[in-house]
Structure formats: structure tokens, C-alpha cells
Symmetry: C2
Subunit: 223 residues, 2 copies
DNA sequence: ACATATTGTCACTATACGGTGACATAAAGG
DNA sequence: CCTTTATGTCACCGTATAGTGACAATATGT
């Protein structure tokens, strides 16, 4: 594709820069850098074109508009932890564990995976105020992954009375919210959500919740 | 709006409509209705002035600008559950309860109090993307209330090993997030966050977490 | 080499925004 | 009564946005 076309007529300009796919890619990458750098409030055709160093009309020519460009951007990276990332790779052994253990591992990987994705955090904040191609794609992936995880852990689900879906929903929602808010505030409920210690604190709390709520029944006293 | 003022100079029209405080109030109320109706993305001097039916220059004359108007609006209503609302009124009896009970009550009141405040939910979403006079005030109130609650429950805090601050932070954060997201998505982790049943499900899950994690130690085995 | 289609630049429209100055009109006070 | 002050209306400025048409420069195919 990168047809680094030969010079044609004379005048060697070392700039064979008339490459459609290259500029397309520059635009897509510009979305990412702009999103990570300035946030989504600054994301518009003018800003993206300026960041990419090309004319904004090419956004319309090559993508049809910002929505399509966003869609392309959404497919250009991994914005969400995959099942492998969440489970640590071996779902087989995870399935054998008690639910209190497996959910703790998953939540720990979830925190780690999201904390290192600055772009995803930005999109998470975006999702709070707007629904567009990008956020919908991310929402779909999230829901698919969680459903697949439930399927994966289904044998473990029998051993508990707790509402696993609701409790894990709460924990994941809490992580999402605190990540979003850490961009604008420092403490939430007295917890420092900007420091490493604060997140260690939250992580151990989450693991404690998993262990307390999903603990295997040792003495089947009731039912 | 229809300032049916007298036509020309003569004759007393029964419309003494040159009232500063009245227009001030109209502007403040316009912020509320606009915020509840169109969301904060539509909140600007032009929109507020149009909604109030007055000229936007009065926003500058009477308030100095949007930030001050927002500040006034923030002081014009109760956007956050008070301690009384969260505790149910009698903090004395609450203090006697085991922590698993008192936190459950507080969380239940928190959900109820926030679910009925549509405007607060809008501001919560706003906080995800921007920091302004209104959101800062709300953040301060929230932190103050939570700190006051901790003080109120301090006698109960001795009886547990759990990190009460971290766990309650998680639960409150989860409620905030799910309320925000319910405006744009229907299900989160398989839970229907738009239905009454879904929130009942979440509420029982939260209460279960409180009971499991803050349960009083019956058998003091360690320490 | 030439004609053609592609790639890119520029200028422009229309719209909306925050903000300000000039001016009309009403109330208040002498 | 007339003057002064407060209240409200209007027109405008500068800026930024999304989007489009015209045109230059380059690559491509014959």
C-alpha cells in the first residue's frame, strides 16, 4: 500500500507524501494522542486535523466525518482488558478455584488493566456524558467480556448464595467511577484516589469483599 | 418573558416588571430547569438567558458571569442527602447498632436519596468531565458529610477489622457510577440499571456486602 | 507524453458561543 | 415637574466550530 512512488519528473523532492492510507493512519493516531493529551472535550474535526497536520477536509473525504473516524479509531487499539488479561491466561485452573479466589484475581487484574490505560479512562469519562460510536463499542465489549466470564466461571457460581452479578457489577462500577474521578479530585470518602497507597487500599478492600461475600460454605447450616 | 410593558410612556400599566431580584431568581431557576431538561452540555449564557426569557447581559450584570450564577444556583437547593436524610434522623440509636446494620441503613438511604434527585445525577455526570463552582461545592459537601458520618459512627468502628472507609467508598462510588450510566445504557454486568428490580437487586447486594464485611466478631479469635 | 483521477491546500459559508457597548425605558428622588 | 439611576433590549465584536466548493499539485494508467 505505501506506494512510495518514485520520483517522476525531475526535481527530486524527497517527499513522496501523497499517501492516502498514511494520512488516514495519521488522522486515526491523532485522535488517540489528542484524546490522551487534551481530553475528549477538545476532540473535533479542526483539532484532529491540526494534530495530524493535514487538512480537515480529508476527514470527510476519507472517513465521511468524525463518527466514522471515531469508529475506525475504536477498532485500532485494545481499550479494554481481554478475558485473557482478566483471568491471567489459564481459565482452566481459575474454574477450579473457589469463587472467592477467582473473582479476587479477576478484580485485581481489572484494576491493573484499567489503571494503565489512560485512554480508556478518558473514554470512561466520556461515556458519562455522551453516547457515540466509540463509547458504544466499548460498552458492547465490556458487556460481552463480563458475560463470557460468567460463562467461564459458571461451575463456581453454584456454590454461593450471593448475587454474583450484582456484587461484581458494584465493584467494577466503583473502580470505573474512582478512576474517572481521580482525574479531577484527590480524595473520595477519605481515600486518596491519586496515590498508589490509596489504590492498594481499595484493592485489598475489593479482595476482602470478594472473600467475604463469595466464601465457600463450610458448614451448610441453612438450606 | 412576554414583558408586556406599556406601550409608550403614558398611562400606568399594571406591570411593574422591573424587578432585579425577580429576574435574578428567574435566571437561577432557569439554570435548574435547563440542567434537568437539556443537561449541562446545553448550559451556557445564551441558553440560560433564553430559558429565563431575559437578556444574557443581565447574567453579567447581576452575577458577574456564569460561574457566579452557578454558585448561586448551587446554594439554592439541596443537591445532596444530608446527614439526617442518610441516618434517618436518629444518630443516637444508629450509633448503638452494629456497624453492619448502620452502614446498611445509610447505604439504603443514600441510594434512595440519590435516585430521586435527577438534578444531582446530572451534576454527577458533569463532575466526570469538568470541575466548576457547582461540582466543587457538591464535592465538598459530599466529603464533609462522609467525614461527619465517620465521626458519628466512630464508636462502632472499633469492632471491625475491615477498612470501612475503603469499602463504603467503593459502594458509594458504585452507586454514583451506575446512576450516571443508567442515563445512557440499560444493563451493566447483566444488571438492569434502569428498572426498579435492578436497583432492588443492587440494594440487597450492597446490604449483603455491609453485613458480610462489617459483621461483628462473635468469636474473638485473633488479637 | 498526455489525460485522468487522486491527494492535498485554501478560502469560504453558516452557525453558535462568550462577552461588551450603546441605547431605550421604567422607577425613584429631588 | 425634571433629573438621576436602575433595569432591560439590541446590535455588535471576536472566536471557534462543522462542513463545502474551488483549485493546485501529484501520482497513475494508457
Amino acid at each position: 500500500m505505501a506506494c512510495s512512488s518514485a520520483k517522476k519528473r525531475g526535481t527530486a523532492l524527497p517527499t513522496p507524501y501523497r499517501n492516502r492510507s498514511a494520512t488516514r493512519e495519521r488522522l486515526v493516531r491523532a485522535v488517540g494522542t489528542l484524546l490522551a493529551h487534551k481530553g475528549f472535550t477538545a476532540l473535533g474535526v479542526n483539532a484532529v486535523a491540526k494534530e495530524a497536520g493535514v487538512d480537515k477536509v480529508l476527514i470527510y473525504r476519507y472517513f465521511g466525518g468524525m463518527p466514522e473516524l471515531l469508529k475506525t479509531f475504536a477498532g485500532s487499539g485494545e481499550f479494554w482488558p481481554s478475558i485473557e488479561e482478566l483471568t491471567g491466561g489459564d481459565t482452566a485452573t481459575l474454574r477450579q478455584m473457589p469463587l472467592s479466589e477467582s473473582t479476587a484475581i479477576i478484580m485485581r487484574n481489572y484494576i491493573k488493566g484499567l489503571r494503565r490505560r489512560a485512554l480508556t479512562q478518558e473514554i470512561l469519562a466520556w461515556e458519562a456524558v455522551e453516547s457515540n460510536e466509540l463509547t458504544q463499542i466499548l460498552d458492547n465489549i465490556r458487556e460481552e467480556v463480563s458475560m463470557a466470564l460468567f460463562k467461564e466461571l459458571s461451575p463456581s457460581l453454584k456454590g454461593t448464595d450471593a448475587d454474583v452479578a450484582a456484587i461484581t457489577a458494584l465493584l467494577a462500577a466503583a473502580v470505573n467511577y474512582l478512576l474517572i474521578r481521580s482525574r479531577t479530585i484527590r480524595t473520595f470518602n477519605g481515600v486518596d484516589i491519586r496515590s498508589e497507597e490509596g489504590w492498594k487500599q481499595l484493592e485489598t478492600a475489593i479482595i476482602a469483599v470478594c472473600q467475604q461475600c463469595f466464601a465457600p460454605r463450610e458448614s451448610p447450616k441453612k438450606k
